[in-house]
């Protein structure tokens, strides 16, 4: 359970407060705006999650990963790993597990807040819980894909972890324009938004997303093994 220790590394930097703001701001605003009889049930869930997935999720992931890697450089974390005889592979796997756990908790929090709004709006969750489950599971999978991409960027650019954050901000901005077009499948940052409208996707799209996620895993693990050999 040493990946829990990763949580403490970022503690105190104000990142968790900012991540909470990035979660609460879009969901609460969209939740309040969507109250009323116009959007109900699953559409209301999409309303509460829409802006969060489109703009904030990738920035939150980019920030978490960049800050975690940046802190390792700034606080001489890598040097400590070498001096204490630990392996880099363990460090990266711990980080990976921490990011996955964190994002799961983060998305669950978002879901519970959204469910709170849905209950307040009078939606009958029992009618569309299957859609919620499918959507949420794929949202988590696409978030894992984004985590893998940003982790790879941080590992590739070494101490220039800022590049990962720049890309996440730039992509969340481009996301606004790319999501409605046919090009979305080539742009992983648009997957969380498109997955909310999963009824409009075909099987090939789901298979592509899953394949890309598996490839991203392979890429991270392969790159990690190369990194270990070279050090």
């Amino acid at each position: 359970m040493s990946f829990i220790e990763e949580f403490k590394k970022i503690k105190g930097s104000g990142a968790y407060i900012l991540l909470a703001v990035l979660l609460l701001l879009p969901i609460c605003i969209q939740g309040v705006l969507g109250l009323g009889p116009i959007v109900t049930d699953y559409k209301y869930y999409v309303t509460t999650f829409g802006l969060f997935c489109r703009l904030f999720l990738s920035v939150a992931i980019g920030l978490l990963i960049s800050l975690s890697f940046y802190n390792e450089y700034r606080r001489k974390g890598y040097l400590n790993v070498i001096l204490n005889g630990h392996s880099f592979a363990n460090l990266i796997i711990n980080k990976m597990l921490f990011f996955y756990t964190f994002i799961l908790v983060y998305l669950l929090t978002a879901l519970f807040i959204s469910l709170g709004f849905q209950l307040f709006d009078g939606s009958n969750i029992g009618l569309y819980y299957k859609e919620l489950l499918i959507s949420f599971s794929f949202l988590f999978i696409t978030s894992i894909l984004l985590i893998n991409i940003h982790m790879f960027l941080c590992m590739f650019f070494n101490q220039h972890t800022m590049i990962s954050l720049i890309i996440s901000v730039l992509c969340s901005f481009l996301n606004v324009f790319i999501v409605p077009t046919q090009l979305w499948i080539m742009f992983p940052w648009s997957y969380p938004t498109r997955i909310l409208y999963f009824a409009s996707l075909n099987t090939l799209d789901f298979v592509t997303i899953l394949l890309i996620t598996i490839c991203s895993f392979a890429l991270i693990l392969y790159y990690n093994s190369i990194n270990v050999r070279s050090t």
């Binding site: 802006l51 904030f56 800050l67 700034r74 720049i166 969340s172 324009f177």
Partner: protein, 243 residues
Amino acid sequence: MSSFINIGKVEFQKIGSFKLILLIIISALITFGLSLSFILYKKEYLLSEGLMEIQSIISISAYFATFTLAIFSAINWYYLISFENKNGTWSILLTKPISKFKLLMTKHTLHLVMYIAFNILYTTASFILLIIMNIEFNISEFLKLQFIFFLVAITIPYSQLLFHLMVKNGLLAFSLTIIILFFFLIKDIIPDIFAMFIPLLNVDNVWIDIKNTRIITLYCIESILYGVIIFLISIKNNYYTYE
């Protein structure tokens, strides 16, 4: 004066002149590319609504320039403020090798130079855009619109600086850029009376009353005042606690 120029040169070298020039060029190219693709994508709609004229085209390119400027200024201020933290300069500054005022003045000047360079390239991009789209326009009107954008858009980089002063962490301040983008995306739901007094939204508000010289002047003054206030805060700010 010569010492200012000298510090300015060193500042330019410290960050990397090639990196800064590349940043300006890429930002201008992104603005140009996004504006052009949007106009081409919506060409039929714009033609049918009679919006293929200078003001609409400039407002479209200004809309994209606003977003690019938000990211551009975020990177720019990150290099100017946060790199000093990375190099441990803020604490060395307490021993007064040079005055904090002088250092910050050069940073602001360098930023202003970058901002002007971005605007020149953006103006050129808009000019090429108008020529490509075959739109007849008056050059003085075009320059006037660009100058208005130059004055009101100053709120975006200074908001970015405000984030640095508030959170005192380079990466966190950078990620707050998303708040700027968020404000622009939800602008329609903010009542006009409130939107008028949010300096950050001036760059978008200005296109609503572009013909009204009095209101435009007020927006420009409000934006410059906002910039000056943040500039003064940045001079007074204690950077020792910067993370």
